[in-house]
Chain length 222, copies 2
């Protein structure tokens, strides 16, 4: 008989997944993808309306494995104080198709997104970058600060968020400074946009020459 | 915090899933689908070659739920004596996207396939059908005999399989008769084709007028 797959809940994932390991893993994944070693069909998405949610399926075959992520995005969950993004990751043995592991994917999604930004920032941002601007104060803002601190030595972290109070709380937590979006972006070496806003939160004219922008979100065409 | 989803392995699924309940559930699913109440994107498939396997993702949103099945099909598993088809089913709360349950899907796939044939047979086969012909002797042959017996009172079950010994073993198990494919099909009221063959296993000219054929398989264009 076939063994039962390993199941890892979010706490178990948290115990084992380290940002410092994840950044080079994402670098390798991006290199493999660009070298044509990855099969990754366009994700399929089901819209659930009402209440205005999405289920997205993201399968992939890489030199290291076979599997998929099922992710849900429900903006209205914010009002219920439950995560807007939830996910489950499912790994399969590429030799036999046998289910190997099922993992809660919420934290993996949170960390992986920031790890990809960190891999890009490592290679593309000015080596002596000192000022980081974060537009947003949610889960991805926190995760990005953790990840980007591993690839650059920032002396100053500036925070803006649509809700002033959130910006101040978050700035305090990461030893940064809350300010306007324009003040945060002007002069910054690295900028991260991590809001759910469908309207632009910054202007290109604010950007310092040579700065690096990690623009997160906008995963759907609207 | 979000509760952890229920996990059901194959034995737990076996304890709870009854063919007699599954057939009307499949009837309802087919009715909902035909009434346009189901969102079901075309499944995405990744080919893993070598060893010549497939991973298929089948998501759906119905009036009763939201979820997906991830199924693997590895014909070469037969040589290793492990199932050629394995699957995992994943249910999500349509209100919030929260993972609800993860179930081993191998047995569900086996039973659901036969339950759909039974729903069709119930409505389309002659009401007084007496003779069932089964071409094939594997997992689906067994499951189909169980399911079809619930919708018609067969007096005779005929079995053919590419390997004569398999046909005889299976015939003994279900109190049927092993014979040639042509002898099995001629005069049968209901015919089931459940082989992995890519070549035709029967001819239309063998069929009795008014007979009902459940043709299983051929899920890929080759």
């Amino acid at each position: 008989m076939v063994n039962k797959p390993l199941f890892l809940n979010e706490e178990q994932v948290r115990q084992h997944l380290r940002m410092v390991d994840l950044i080079p893993a994402m670098e390798k994944a991006l290199i493999d993808f660009s070298a044509g070693k990855v099969t990754q069909p366009v994700r399929s998405v089901i819209k659930i309306d009402p209440p205005g949610g999405f289920l997205g399926l993201m399968p992939a075959l890489t030199p290291d494995g076979l599997g998929l992520k099922a992710v849900t995005f429900y903006p209205s969950n914010a009002e219920r104080r439950i995560p807007t993004h939830m996910a489950t990751i499912f790994l399969v043995d590429p030799e036999t198709g046998t289910p190997l592991a099922i993992m809660d994917g919420r934290l993996i999604t949170e960390m992986r997104t920031a790890a990809v930004s960190a891999a890009a920032t490592k290679l593309l941002a000015p080596p002596d970058a000192k000022i980081l601007a974060v537009l947003g104060s949610g889960v991805q803002a926190r995760s990005h600060v953790e990840a980007l601190r591993l690839v650059r030595k920032f002396e100053e972290i500036r925070v803006w968020s649509p809700t002033r109070q959130h910006a101040e709380q978050f700035a305090k937590e990461i030893r940064g400074k809350a300010m306007s979006a324009e003040d945060a972006v002007r002069g910054a070496d690295v900028v991260v946009t991590v809001t759910n806003s469908k309207a632009p939160v910054m202007k290109g004219s604010w950007l310092k020459r040579g700065s690096h922008v990690n623009a997160i979100g906008a995963c759907r065409p609207n």
